[in-house]
């Protein structure tokens, strides 16, 4: 059984609309809902947890100020957040920064009960082996994987966030998944 948990888009839109009208409670709810994915996204690149805290805080400060100034995102809040998070990372570490080894160890999905033999196989993989597989991906491929699979962003949104065209993103995600698969499953 393959499970991809999809974000609740309608609720996101409702919250964003309320926050754009100045609803402070909605702003706080957005923080509660989106801190975790944004923090995880940042933490994949940043070794230092304190530094990751500061960067995640920067992202949400920018968002709240955007709400206050009437410049908040109108379509995809998640897309906006990840784009800002990505910019904050680049501003701090530059474009070439790869995922840290520490974060990669934690990025490997924890073993879970699953009846699907392929998933069981993946979960049974040695974490070191998975980490090595992930390290072979470029930062761009890693980003695309996170945005497309973890956040279920559309191809267009992912292209907007990463500043690439749609065909490049399509190719990136294919190569990323294929490389990961070949390494993990020994194809």
């Amino acid at each position: 059984m393959i499970v991809i948990v999809l974000p609740e888009i309608a609720e996101e839109d409702r919250l964003t609309e309320r926050a754009r009208r100045g609803d402070k409670q909605a702003m706080k709810q957005i923080y509660q809902a989106y801190f975790s994915p944004v923090y995880n996204f940042i933490r994949l690149r940043v070794d230092d947890a304190q530094q990751a805290d500061d960067l995640a805080s920067d992202v949400f400060v920018k968002l709240m100020i955007a709400f206050r100034n009437g410049k908040a995102p109108r379509k995809s809040l998640r897309g906006w957040l990840f784009q800002v998070a990505r910019n904050v990372l680049y501003d701090t570490y530059g474009r070439g920064q790869s995922y840290t080894e520490e974060a990669l160890e934690e990025w490997v999905p924890a073993a879970r009960e699953d009846t699907d033999p392929e998933i069981q196989l993946l979960q049974a993989m040695d974490s070191q082996r998975v980490r090595q597989a992930m390290q072979r991906l470029t930062p761009d491929q890693q980003e695309v994987l996170v945005l497309r699979f973890a956040q279920a962003l559309s191809l267009e949104e992912t292209a907007d966030i990463t500043g690439k065209n749609i065909n490049t993103v399509k190719s990136l995600q294919f190569r990323a998944v294929n490389a990961l698969r070949q390494t993990l499953l020994g194809d």
Binding site: I4, G22, F35, L44, D53, W107, I119, K170, F174
Partner: protein, 260 residues
């Protein structure tokens, strides 16, 4: 070529899964790539479940939250009270309703001007009594009475005094012109009491008839006829500029002819 097809098929599958379809459903569309796609989607879904331990994320959230809350709380409160929007809607509805009702045909529109259709009737109300000493008390008493709603009068006016002149169908009393449809009944010098309507401007159409009666010392007549301008209409404070206003040749013989 096949590789491009696989790339495209994979993208289609990822997008459809993001919209809620199952892996089995999306893979079934591409039987030639089914095994390959299923494997890749499995890898992708595993990668999607990345994430730090919940405890670490919660600890980070708790560390950052006070600063974010303080920032949010420092914003000026520009959220409208909950009753403002319903009130606004009600106001808009009220304004639109008023505008609609004030249109022609609406409930608040001015009542249409009604032109009464008058049936000419002449009634003899009293017997003329000769008087040797006609006491002329020309007291102009323009007692203004409330407008009779049935009449299109702007105000009612009572004129009592001698007829100063007769021009066609117009009697001049104290310089005021009273229109009558039966000028032959009156003579210059005759004291009459006219209950007339005044009308504004030159358009006196629709002004209803008024009674022109001769007081007890003089023959009494009542005229209630609907002339073109309206019986009993008073126009202006002075007679017409000339008698040429009389277009009806039938009345020519009466013009000033009754001075005697």
């Amino acid at each position: 070529m096949a590789a491009n097809l696989l790339v495209d098929a994979f993208e289609v599958c990822v997008s459809q899964i993001a919209r809620g379809q199952t892996v089995a459903q999306v893979v079934a569309q591409y039987p030639q790539f089914a095994a390959e796609l299923r494997l890749m989607l499995t890898v992708g879904s595993a990668a999607a479940r990345y994430g730090l331990p919940t405890a670490e994320v919660e600890a980070a959230r708790a560390r950052v939250q006070p600063g974010i809350d303080d920032l949010i709380d420092s914003f000026p409160d520009r959220r409208l009270p909950p009753w403002v929007i319903p009130l606004g809607i009600l106001l808009v509805i009220a304004i639109v309703t008023l505008l609609f009702m004030s249109q022609p045909g609406g409930a608040f529109a001015p009542a249409p001007t009604q032109t009464p259709s008058l049936t000419p009737t002449t009634t003899q109300t009293s017997t003329p009594l000769p008087s040797t000493t006609p006491t002329l008390t020309p007291t102009l008493s323009p007692s203004i009475t409330p407008t009779n709603a049935a009449l299109a009068c702007t105000q009612a006016l009572v004129l009592e005094g001698p007829i100063e002149a007769i021009r066609g169908n117009q009697l001049v009393i104290y310089g005021l012109t009273v229109v009558t449809s039966d000028p032959a009944r009156y003579r210059v010098g005759m004291v009459v009491r006219a209950e007339v309507c005044t009308c504004d401007g030159g358009d006196c159409t629709g002004v209803t008839a008024a009674a022109i009666a001769i007081p007890t010392t003089a023959p009494v007549a009542q005229a209630t006829t609907p002339p073109a301008q309206g019986e009993g209409a008073v126009s202006g404070g002075s007679p017409p500029a000339s008698g040429d206003d009389d277009d009806d040749g039938d009345d020519d013989g009466d013009d000033d002819g009754g001075d005697d």
